[in-house]
C-alpha cells in the first residue's frame, strides 16, 4: 500500500505522521495520547483537557488563550476525549488558516507554540495544577456527564452499551463518572497528567500545505521533552459468551420511546471477515436502502429514524430507532425478521449493490475532510492494520452475498434497552 502519511519517530518516542497537501484551506495538527480505558483513570483522563484549556504558564487564563487565537485568524484549538474500543484517547487539535489566504502571513510558529503550551505547559501551583481550575472543571465535567440525560437519542445508545458490557471496561463512559470526580484533586491529577505525557503512546498528526522536513523540524524542536519507556495499551477484549438476551427498560417523562438493541458481532476490524460485516451492517441499517429503513420506517411507518452501526474496535453492533411506546413489540418483531432474513441469505441484489456502492462512496469521501482522513488512519494504528482506502475499497468489492450470510451467523443479540414513558 501507499501510505498517505510519512512516519517519523522523534527521539523521545512520539510518532509523527505528516501528510502534505494543498487541497484544504487549513493546516491541521492533532495529538493523540493513548490510554487503557479503566474505571480508576477514566475520569481523570477526561478531566485533563478541561483543566489544560484553562491556562498555561505563558497564557495564564482561557481568555488569554482565546485572545491570542483570535489574532491568529481564529485558529481553532482544543482538547477532547475519544473512546475507541477499550482505549481512551486524549486528543488535542489545532487548525489554522493556510497562510496563502491571509496574504502569506506565517503563523505556524506562533500557533504551534500556543499548542505546545496547551499540552505541555499548564499553570502550576505547589507542585500541582492550579486548585481553582481543577475544582471548577470538576464541576463543569460533572454537569457535562449528567447532561447526556438530556440527549435521549445518545442516552439510549450509551445505556444499551452500559447494560450490555456491565462487567467490561467498555461500559465506562468516555467522560468517566461523577462518583470518581470526588477523589480527584490538583495533586493526584497532576501526577496522572505527567504519567500520560511521559509514558503513554503519543501520535502527532500534521495535515496541510506544509513542507514535511520543515514542519518536522519545528515540531521536533518544540516537543523534544524527555519521555520514559512507553506503557503498552492493551487490546480490546471482544469475545463474550451470551447465555440469554437481556431486556432492560428505563422509564422517563418522555414523548417518544427509544429502542436500542446491542449485538456481539464476534468480528472486528483487522479480521478477515470484517469487510463482510461492514456490508452486513449496511444492508441491515446503513441508510435509506437498508432493511431497517425500508421496513421499520417506509413499510410500517413506525419510526422517523431506524439505523444500525458498528463499533469496529470491540466488534459490537447497535440498532436504534425512535418509536411510539405502544409499538415496542411490533418494532422488535420487524427488526428480528430482518436479522433472520439476512441470516437465511435473503438479500436482494438491490440491497447488496446499493450497500457496496454506498460504503465505497463514503470511503472515497473521507479524502475530502482533514479530520476524517486522520480518524480513519488512527483506527488503523489502533488495530494494527495498515491499509489505504484503495485497499479497503478492493476488499469491499470482493465481498459476496454468501460472505454476508456467513458473517450473519456469528452475530448474537445481547441486550435490548428501551427508554419508555413513566
Amino acid at each position: 500500500m501507499k501510505d498517505i502519511f510519512t512516519h517519523r519517530t522523534l527521539k523521545n518516542g512520539i510518532n509523527l505522521f505528516i501528510h502534505s497537501t494543498d487541497k484544504f484551506k487549513t493546516n491541521t495538527f492533532c495529538i493523540f495520547i493513548h490510554q487503557n480505558l479503566k474505571k480508576e483513570t477514566a475520569t481523570m483522563t477526561a478531566l485533563l483537557p478541561f483543566v489544560l484549556k484553562r491556562g498555561t504558564q505563558n497564557f495564564p487564563t482561557s481568555r488569554h488563550i482565546s485572545l491570542y487565537l483570535e489574532n491568529l485568524y481564529g485558529a481553532d484549538m482544543g482538547g477532547d476525549i475519544l473512546k475507541r474500543g477499550e482505549r481512551q484517547i486524549l486528543q488535542f487539535f489545532l487548525e489554522t488558516v493556510n497562510p496563502k489566504y491571509i496574504r502569506g502571513k506565517d503563523i505556524m510558529d506562533d500557533s504551534l507554540n500556543v499548542f505546545k503550551e496547551l499540552v505541555l505547559n499548564p499553570v502550576l501551583e505547589d507542585g500541582g495544577f492550579k486548585e481553582a481550575y481543577v475544582e471548577q472543571e470538576k464541576d463543569v465535567l460533572k454537569r457535562s456527564i449528567e447532561s447526556l440525560y438530556n440527549d435521549k437519542f445518545n442516552y439510549a445508545i450509551e445505556r444499551c452499551f452500559q447494560e450490555m458490557c456491565k462487567d467490561e471496561a467498555f461500559s465506562i463512559y468516555k467522560y468517566g463518572n461523577v462518583e470518581d470526580l470526588e477523589k480527584i484533586d490538583k495533586s493526584n491529577l497532576y501526577s496522572y497528567y505527567l504519567e500520560c505525557i511521559y509514558k503513554c503512546p503519543m501520535d502527532f498528526f500534521v495535515l496541510g500545505d506544509v513542507d514535511e522536513d520543515d514542519v518536522a523540524c519545528r515540531i521536533e524542536k518544540l516537543f523534544d521533552f524527555h519521555r520514559h519507556a512507553e506503557k503498552t495499551v492493551n487490546s480490546t477484549c471482544f469475545k463474550k459468551e451470551i447465555t440469554k438476551e437481556k431486556i432492560v427498560e428505563e422509564n422517563q417523562d418522555v414523548n417518544q420511546g427509544k429502542l436500542s438493541m446491542g449485538f456481539r458481532t464476534n468480528t472486528r476490524y483487522g479480521d478477515d471477515d470484517y469487510y463482510a460485516l461492514m456490508v452486513y451492517n449496511g444492508i441491515l441499517g446503513g441508510g435509506p436502502h437498508s432493511k431497517l429503513f425500508q421496513n421499520v420506517r417506509e413499510k410500517a411507518g413506525l419510526a422517523y429514524y431506524a439505523f444500525s452501526k458498528l463499533e469496529k474496535n470491540k466488534g459490537l453492533m447497535l440498532i436504534g430507532c425512535g418509536i411510539d411506546f405502544s409499538n415496542f413489540d411490533r418494532a422488535v418483531g420487524i427488526i428480528k425478521e430482518q436479522l433472520e432474513d439476512i441470516k437465511a441469505g435473503k438479500i436482494s441484489n438491490y440491497e447488496f449493490d446499493s450497500t457496496v456502492k454506498s460504503i465505497i462512496s463514503s470511503l472515497k469521501e473521507t479524502a475530502d475532510s482533514p479530520s476524517m482522513i486522520i480518524s480513519l488512519y488512527l483506527d488503523g494504528i489502533i488495530n494494527g492494520v495498515r491499509e489505504s482506502t484503495e485497499d479497503m475499497i478492493k476488499k469491499i468489492q470482493s465481498v459476496s452475498k454468501d460472505d454476508v450470510r456467513k458473517v450473519a451467523q456469528k452475530i448474537e443479540l445481547d441486550t435490548i434497552f428501551f427508554l419508555n414513558k413513566k
Partner: protein, 423 residues
C-alpha cells in the same frame, strides 16, 4: 468572476427563470449538489398564481411536502440514488426547502435524478396517510429535545403573529389536516424553476452541468411564472410576552434569551452587513475572549456549552444567547448588566479588529467543506446575498456600524427569556 480563496464560481440562467451555479473543486473526490426552493414553513398564506385563490395552508405543510417529494410513481427515489451510489437527503427550514445528494460517481446521472424527482410531484392519499405516522414520530423526537423546545418557546415570546413562532414541522394535530390536493397547490406555487436554485460543487466541469440542466429544463418546457404573492401577518415591533418556562425531564435548567430585531424589511448586501455587524458585536460582548465570558465562567454560571447567534431574514431577525446553567435568573441578570456596561464603555478598536480577523479565518476554514459552501451559498442566495461578497462586506463593516447596533439592537424592552426547568 474573479478567483475567490482560490475558487471560481460559474453560473447560468435559463429561460424559465431557473439559475444554476457550479463551483468546481477539482481535487475533491465528491460532488455535492443542492436543489432548493424559496419556500419554507413561514410561507403558509399566499395567492395561488394563475387562479388567484387566497390560500391559508396547515402548519408544517412545507416540511410534509419535502417528505412526500421522495415518492415517485415507480417507488422511492432514495432507492434510485442508492443504485447510483449516492446518498440523498433534504431539509426544510423557516424560509426554504432544500434537496441534496452527495456522490463520488455517476455525477451527471445523479444531478439528473435530483432535478427529475424535485420536478415530479406524485402524491397519493394512502402514502400521505402513512407519512403522518412517520412525521408524528419526528415531531415526538423534537418534543424530547430541550434545545429545540427552548428555542420554540423563545420565538413564541418574541413574536405575536409572524409564522416564525410556529414549529417548522407543524404539530401532530395540524399535519392531520394535510391532504393531496393542498400538497399539489403548494407544490405548483413554490416549485416553479424561477423560485429555485441549483448549486453544484465538487469535481465536476461547469459546462457539463449547464448542458444537462438545459436538456432537463427543455423536457419540462415550463413557461415563466409571475411573482408569488406571499402574505405575512402584521407583526408589531414590540414583543409578545417577556418570559416562558416549561418543565422537561432534564438534568439541569436550560436558558435562552433573545432580542427581537425591528430593523427589518431589507435583504441583499445591506442584510449581510447587518448580520456581520451584529455578529461581531455579539462576539466582542459574549465570546470566549470577552470579559463577560470569563467572569460568568468563573462564577460557574456558564461553560463551553454557552452559545449565541443572530438569525437575520428579510422580514424578521432575532438573536439567541444562552446554554445550560444552574441559575437561569442570575445568568439573565448578568447578561443584561454586561450589555449595559458595554454600552457605557463602548467597543475598542482593538477588540473590533481582532474579532474581524477571527471572522475572516472562520469563513476561510468553512471553505474546506463542500457542504458548508453549498449550504451557505444557497441560504444566502435566498436572501439575495452573494456569498462571494462576504469578505468585501466584512471589510466594509466599520466600528461605527457595530457601535450603532450596540445602541439600537439590544433594546431591553424587546427581549424575552425562555427557560426549561428539570421536573
Amino acid at each position: 468572476m474573479d478567483a475567490f480563496l482560490g475558487e471560481r464560481l460559474y453560473s447560468h440562467k435559463y429561460n424559465n427563470g431557473l439559475t444554476a451555479f457550479v463551483l468546481p473543486k477539482k481535487n475533491f473526490n465528491k460532488v455535492f449538489a443542492m436543489y432548493s426552493t424559496r419556500y419554507g414553513s413561514i410561507d403558509s398564506e399566499f395567492i395561488v398564481p394563475g387562479t388567484g385563490e387566497h390560500l391559508k395552508v396547515p402548519e408544517g405543510i412545507a416540511h410534509f411536502l419535502e417528505h412526500k417529494m421522495f415518492e415517485m410513481e415507480y417507488g422511492n427515489v432514495f432507492d434510485k440514488f442508492a443504485e447510483l451510489g449516492a446518498s440523498s437527503n433534504a431539509f426544510t427550514n423557516y424560509t426554504n426547502t432544500t434537496y441534496l445528494f452527495s456522490a463520488t460517481s455517476f455525477f451527471e446521472q445523479n444531478i439528473n435524478l435530483l432535478m427529475e424527482f424535485v420536478e415530479t410531484p406524485y402524491f397519493t392519499s394512502e402514502s400521505v396517510e402513512k407519512e403522518k405516522g412517520i412525521i408524528t414520530q419526528e415531531l415526538r423526537m423534537y418534543e424530547d429535545e430541550p434545545e429545540w423546545q427552548v428555542l420554540l418557546n423563545l420565538l413564541r415570546c418574541l413574536y405575536h403573529n409572524h409564522p416564525v413562532r410556529i414549529d417548522i414541522g407543524g404539530t401532530v394535530d395540524s399535519i392531520q389536516k394535510i391532504d393531496v390536493d393542498t400538497l399539489y397547490k403548494c407544490y405548483n406555487t413554490f416549485y416553479h424553476p424561477s423560485n429555485m436554485i441549483l448549486f453544484v460543487t465538487g469535481c465536476i466541469e461547469p459546462e457539463k452541468v449547464f448542458n444537462l440542466v438545459e436538456k432537463q429544463e427543455a423536457k419540462k418546457n415550463m413557461g415563466v411564472q409571475p411573482p408569488i404573492k406571499r402574505i405575512y401577518p402584521e407583526e408589531p415591533g414590540f414583543i409578545n410576552t417577556s418570559a416562558s418556562a416549561i418543565r422537561l425531564d432534564v438534568s439541569e435548567p436550560m436558558f435562552l434569551m433573545g432580542f427581537k430585531d425591528t430593523d427589518v424589511g431589507y435583504d441583499g448586501y445591506e442584510l449581510l452587513k447587518k448580520e456581520l455587524s451584529i455578529g461581531i458585536l455579539m462576539e466582542v460582548l459574549f465570546g470566549k475572549s470577552s470579559e463577560m465570558y470569563e467572569r460568568l465562567y468563573e462564577k460557574g454560571l456558564i461553560d463551553d456549552r454557552f452559545s449565541f447567534s443572530y438569525e437575520g431574514q428579510k422580514d424578521y431577525g432575532f438573536c439567541t444567547i444562552g446554554g445550560e446553567t444552574r441559575e437561569p435568573e442570575r445568568l439573565h441578570e448578568e447578561i443584561l448588566n454586561s450589555i449595559s456596561k458595554s454600552r457605557d464603555k463602548g467597543i475598542s478598536e482593538e477588540d473590533f479588529k481582532r474579532v474581524k480577523k477571527k471572522f475572516l479565518g472562520d469563513f476561510i476554514q468553512g471553505f474546506n467543506s463542500v457542504e458548508f459552501i453549498a449550504t451557505s451559498f444557497v441560504s444566502y442566495y435566498h436572501k439575495n446575498i452573494d456569498i462571494f461578497d462576504y469578505l468585501k462586506a466584512l471589510e466594509d463593516v466599520k466600528l461605527e456600524d457595530v457601535m450603532r447596533r450596540l445602541d439600537s439592537f439590544f433594546d431591553f424592552s424587546r427581549h424575552a427569556v425562555s427557560i426549561v426547568m428539570p421536573k
